[in-house]
């Protein structure tokens, strides 16, 4: 069941997604790595990553929820600075929990 995935399991799945979306090697993908500055993403890649996350985890992500998950009062521009692999893992975990509550 997707909603029972641990943080480590989510990281492992996300790592494959990031490798494919950003065409990068697995060694760069560490929890503290920033998705934009460290992994080389641009805004379009985030759309791609979200699309792949939705397909792979069976969730429905959104930019607004992702920004909210990063902290209070942030804007879309802050994503570039704040979004790390770990924050993405936590956001996906949150999406999975919300999904399991609905079901």
């Amino acid at each position: 069941m997707e909603n029972l995935l641990s943080e480590e399991e989510i990281f492992a799945k996300l790592s494959v997604i990031l490798q494919e979306a950003l065409r990068i090697g697995t060694t760069k993908i560490r929890p503290e790595a920033r998705v934009f500055d460290d992994l080389g993403a641009e805004s379009l890649d985030l759309l791609d990553i979200r699309f792949r996350v939705d397909e792979s985890f069976g969730v429905k992500t959104s930019d607004e929820d992702l920004i909210r998950s990063l902290g209070e009062g942030l804007t879309a521009e802050d994503i570039q600075e704040k979004l790390t692999v770990r924050s993405l893992v936590l956001y996906i975990q949150n999406c999975l929990q919300e999904k399991s509550q609905i079901l």
Partner: protein, 436 residues
């Protein structure tokens, strides 16, 4: 009048003969045909089942693109363009870090139908099938198709459809921050792209332009579309020799795909850095028939004017031209009209003026045709060899020029001219002179 001169200092290509100018040159002068049966999708119920495809699948092409992440937003044509641009820039020896990036521009001709490649066409087909409602007797709810398309198509896919993505990728790869333009005028696109790049260097608004074109329409919508218009050869039984421009038995063109990119540079700048010059662009003109979308106007006024105006731009008499690379599609109308137009412009010189159609070998590369054929002119010039019109067997009384039949021929070439014509009444003409 500007005294700035524009020379070609780099060349790159992806053609139905493969990747690289070396392969293009060898096959061009050996008179090979790149015709093959289409295998990338099922053409069994279509009237034309052959084309001149670039002999590389997507995985092989992908491996040649340096910026792997950019592949997500690249159509097949964009990959051709980027690979050819890489070769051209390397070949020129140009060092972008040593120049003002705002004096380096990009000018590309393309069609912009990259969205509808084989993969996306198949995906749309699956989405439609998935949207059928089994509960109401397999009726199609179109609103569900569009919802499914939105939810199940990678959000980056639509970028493949933007015509200017090719130029944008080249600009990013080369740090070209000057004028970046895309010209989409059907089959004259890339001839105009090169012509406009030449004008910009001549006018002093750029010092170097990376210019050419790329296209790929050997996909379901391309084949269906050109079949509907009735302009492609249907001679599947003789597909290896079906592309036969100017021959009496011609029945339309063979579709091709690929790219050619040239580095155009201001002559003095090239001399200062010690670059190699392959030839000089000395004339360009483009006109529009302003008549009907696909019919030639009386006396071919648009293409006659384009050739005359390009000669005027080059400050040359018609007698100075040593070879014409014809548009020469292989449709009944084009070849007859182009022959008439050449005779109108070159008069008494016409019977002794060699004219050939490289489309007989590589097919019609649509928006990339002008650039690839101009590259063929550069090779003709550097090798002092006329590329042939292959598959030429039966003379047509309406086409009575020297078409360099079937075999390449050595010739003294100082000035060559390349014609490109397109739907919409577009005409473009480029003139090249031997390296100064």
């Amino acid at each position: 009048m500007s005294d700035r001169r524009v020379v070609i200092t780099g060349l790159g290509s992806v053609t139905p003969f493969g990747v690289g100018v070396g392969r293009f040159r060898d096959s061009l002068f050996q008179g090979h045909s790149a015709a093959s049966l289409i295998t990338s999708f099922d053409t069994s119920r279509l009237p034309t089942r052959f084309a001149a495809s670039v002999p590389l699948d997507e995985a092989a092409l992908d491996s040649m693109v340096q910026n792997q992440k950019s592949l997500k937003t690249m159509s097949r044509a964009a990959k051709f363009a980027v690979i050819a641009a890489d070769e051209a820039v390397k070949n020129s020896g140009l060092d972008g870090s040593e120049m003002d990036p705002y004096r380096l521009g990009v000018s590309i001709g393309t069609g912009g139908l990259g969205f509808w490649d084989v993969e996306h066409s198949n995906r749309m087909f699956e989405l439609i099938v998935e949207s059928l409602d089994g509960g109401n007797g397999l009726k199609l709810d179109s609103s569900k198709v569009w919802q499914n398309t939105l939810e199940k198509t990678n959000p980056l896919t639509p970028l493949k459809a933007l015509p200017n993505m090719l130029a944008a990728h080249i600009a990013i790869n080369t740090n070209a921050r000057g004028n970046c333009q895309t010209i989409a005028t059907a089959c004259t696109s890339s001839a105009q792209a090169i012509g406009e790049a030449y004008r910009q260097i001549k006018a002093g608004v750029a010092d170097v332009m990376i210019s050419g074109g790329a296209d790929s329409m050997i996909h379901p919508y391309g084949i269906v579309g050109f079949s509907a218009l009735g302009v492609m050869s249907k001679n599947n039984g003789e597909f290896r020799t079906a592309a036969r421009p100017f021959d009496r038995r011609r029945d339309g063109f063979m579709l091709g795909e690929g790219a050619a990119i040239l580095v155009l540079e201001e002559l003095e700048r090239c001399k200062q850095r010690g670059g190699t010059v392959y030839g000089e662009v000395i004339g360009y003109a483009s006109t529009c028939d302003a008549f009907r979308l696909t019919d030639e106007p009386p006396e071919a006024w648009g293409c006659v004017a384009a050739m005359k105006m390009a000669l005027t731009d080059a400050r040359l008499n018609p007698g100075s031209v040593d070879y014409i690379n014809a548009h020469g599609t292989g449709t009944v109308m084009n070849d007859k009209t182009e022959t008439f137009a050449i005779k109108s412009v070159f008069r008494e010189k016409a019977p002794s003026l060699p004219v050939s159609s490289t489309k007989s070998m590589i097919g019609h590369l649509v928006a990339a045709a002008g650039a690839v054929e101009f590259a063929a002119c550069v090779l003709a010039m550097t090798d002092q060899t006329l590329p042939p019109t292959i598959n030429y067997e039966s003379p047509d009384e309406a086409c009575d020029l020297d078409y360099v039949p079937n075999q390449a021929r050595k010739a003294r070439l100082n000035v060559v001219l390349s014609n490109s014509f397109g739907f919409g009444g577009q005409n473009a003409c480029l003139i090249l002179r031997k390296a100064p």
